[in-house]
Symmetry: C2
Subunit: 464 residues, 2 copies
């Protein structure tokens, strides 16, 4: 008979699971990156009812091999070049384990001070590491908080912007307008809908897939002319489509002129800012009201770990705190303690800062910088090689780890190449920009080495 | 030199961390449940900058003891009687570890079919286990999804209700009204504000701290009379204050009559429904549009693991999907596959179902039922004892694991008892209901045994 609360069993089971994970990660290269599985196939392996009495842990481990793994798409596979990376790493996995083991709730400073203070401290470290404005530190007027995803961060920014606009103009949400690039992540449009904006404008982009300032200016003028209320603009530092970079400073100046909230979505590319040479891409950040990037994309930390910074935390807390003013905490207002429940929609929160803290310490700053530089160098080598081959056209700059190209014979040839590369064991997305199909090669998985990128290049050469 | 990607190091470090967690959990009883720590004390132990080169894992482990643990409030301590429980258990901790080790993203069915199918299957198991309507299964018109917290679930319900109401009435969100009990969780008011409702009414409660149907009916009539648009009502099965139970059927009938969305917040008490004898408390669920409860409160699963069910998934997906109708997926519409990104605000998602699956299998249904019954029996014993003592007044029924009582000498005596109990090593909250201070004893921590409740009773006797 098994006892799920027996701590000696926990030790044995835990050691076995750690070993299983090491073997899984070390053996990924020998598996297909996308397991072939039909709808319903996984469920068909599961019993119709849960067991009445407890099963031994060996049954869970066996089902990892028999049910789970054959039903996965392996995001940690070295041949993962799809979407963006969802990086993980051994220190991050162990940080997640430690947080689960401690089982504390950091909703208030007082419900586990270490959870709040380590989060504030590590996000303040990142302010220095990434060269974002010093005023965003929790020791200044702004501050950082961990959210589940960039979608949550952007939705939060949209809600705060809506309330700031409402107070300034008295306009209803139905007449408010949010602007972003047609190449931006879908979370901006979704967040605008969820927050009740009447209008979300997806602006046309230029030849480099970035928003031209004049396009934003014209859109604002058009909306003002018909009596709408421009409230929010999201500039992308690295769009989802092609990692295009919107001109932050020029957009920020327009936002200031028209009292729009400026949110920066650097969900993917933000991690690169730990290397000084890439920071030109975010020039103008001092004009931003909020900023998000996902350590769970490209900073070796497993999902969920999205950083959300605000330049001024007062409107954020005013919008999300449901404590009436007369009950407000003097210590919180003075910045002496932070109650993170007032910084996002959910109340409860895991101790997510632990894994980010461990990743920064385990790799060290130089280790993380070397990782980012290695990915970008590999992407730029692939970009350079593609430009030497007449069969291919690189359709966008390669400022980070994503290469965007197509087959010059047209959409059908491009789609066929995507299919052949997937058949050959590489996870790769096809997409569409300005009406043309193209191929996204996203380099940044934890276990992807130069030899895996070389193998992909050979496959493109052979199959293209 | 340490290599954070070395898998042999990961094994050694992982085994050491598992052992550390076993010792932490096994040794909690010897620590204060609330560590004495002043604002800033944790941060003062941290270096101003992250290290430039990697630190060995032994440094992280040492800091767990030196920095983290002395700065925590130990939610897993057997003397935890505060707020509600945030249960964890060895199988849940290992499920979280496995999910982190796999590192997959289940945003779409196709990005890891097993993550979606196991989630749907386990939530369908719970439909049977908890006696909620069969139509809420993913194999029917409704369906369940894991969210981060009940706050997220309730916010999602408010957003969908807003869009349903807008389509029916054309009213702007600013004129819409959401109703709930004055004793309901703050997430209803917060979610209403975030979703842009013009009005959130916190209804007065009866002597048992529940909403009387007539109170809701009158409030709706008043709002209609001034031209507002009632849109949403949340009935609590177990309020945060005293675990009062709103009359679901009567509220549901009023909701149907006035086309309000009926959301059930059973965040804490929902877990008790795995025992048939407590289901009277949720009679009338077939009138509900959505329901949430937190396995991370009282079902031995670590945060985050909030279940959100809808009776009909179409308005949910219509509201949250940003894929235009002409691109909709025939397989999704047919119920063949589910893309959970369209069921909540965030896009990305961890494989949270894994830990819930492991908890159900490791305890077995009977093991979890026994745990719930043990907690409720302990609460009812404490309730019965308090009622025999003239110094105390039990102010509310004890249908679940929470006992609500006060000192008959008044607020000062009640507050003093809370302070003395905390000084004596028990984590206990004071609160306020109908203007009177009272004491909340929440029994449900994983490691709390009858002897710990007996120790608390002795302390109440001695210090009261």
């Amino acid at each position: 008979m098994t006892d799920p609360l027996d701590l000696d069993e926990f030790r044995r089971n835990g050691h076995a699971l750690i070993d299983w994970i090491a073997e899984y990660l070390g053996g990924l290269e020998d598996r297909p990156v996308i397991e072939p599985v039909a709808p319903g196939e996984v469920r068909a392996k599961l019993p119709a009812k849960p067991p009445m009495t407890g099963e031994p842990f060996s049954a869970m481990l066996a089902d990892l091999d028999d049910v789970v793994v054959p039903g996965l798409t392996h995001w940690q596979h070295p041949h993962w070049f799809s979407f963006f990376p969802a990086m993980s790493s051994p220190p991050a996995i162990l940080g997640e384990l430690a947080a689960a083991g401690l089982g504390v709730q950091g909703m208030l400073w007082s419900t586990s001070p270490a959870a709040t203070e380590i989060e504030s401290h590590v996000l303040d470290w990142l302010v220095d590491l990434m060269g974002v404005p010093q005023s965003w530190k929790t020791t200044g007027p702004g501050g950082g908080v961990l959210q589940m995803s960039a979608s949550d961060s952007t939705h939060t920014a949209l809600v705060v912007a809506r309330e700031v606009c409402r107070q300034r103009t008295g306009a209803p949400a139905e007449s408010m307008v949010a602007y972003t690039s047609s190449q931006a992540h879908s979370s901006v449009e979704k967040g605008g809908n969820v927050a009740g904006y009447g209008h979300v404008r997806l602006l046309e982009v230029d030849d480099h897939f970035a928003v031209a300032p004049a396009t934003l200016r014209d859109a604002i003028a058009d909306d003002l002319a018909v009596g709408l209320t421009p409230a929010f603009v999201c500039a992308a530092v690295g769009t989802t489509g092609t990692t295009a970079v919107d001109p932050v400073r020029a957009i920020g100046e327009i936002a200031r002129e028209h009292h729009l909230w400026l949110h920066i979505d650097a969900a993917y590319a933000g991690s690169a800012m730990i290397c000084e040479e890439f920071r030109d891409h975010q020039d103008g950040l001092e004009l931003a009201d909020s900023y998000t990037f996902n350590a769970h994309k490209w900073l070796a930390t497993n999902f969920d770990c999205s950083i959300f910074w605000v330049a001024d935390r007062r409107p954020l807390i005013d919008t999300l705190s449901i404590v009436p003013p007369y009950l407000r905490n003097a210590a919180s207002d003075a910045g002496e303690v932070i109650d993170y429940r007032d910084w996002h929609v959910p109340l409860g929160r895991r101790f997510r800062a632990l894994k980010l803290w461990w990743v920064l310490r385990s790799f060290g700053v130089e280790g993380l910088q070397a990782m980012i530089r290695r990915h970008i160098a590999a992407a730029q080598r692939l970009d350079a090689w593609l430009r030497t081959d007449d069969r291919f056209e690189v359709i966008a700059p390669t400022p980070f780890g994503l290469v965007s190209f197509l087959h010059v014979d047209g959409d059908e040839a491009t789609d066929a190449l995507v299919a052949r590369l997937n058949d050959a064991g590489f996870a790769i997305n096809g997409s569409v920009a300005n009406g043309r199909h193209f191929i996204r090669v996203s380099i940044g998985s934890t276990w992807t080495e130069d030899r895996h990128v070389d193998a992909l290049r050979s496959a493109i050469d052979r199959l293209g």
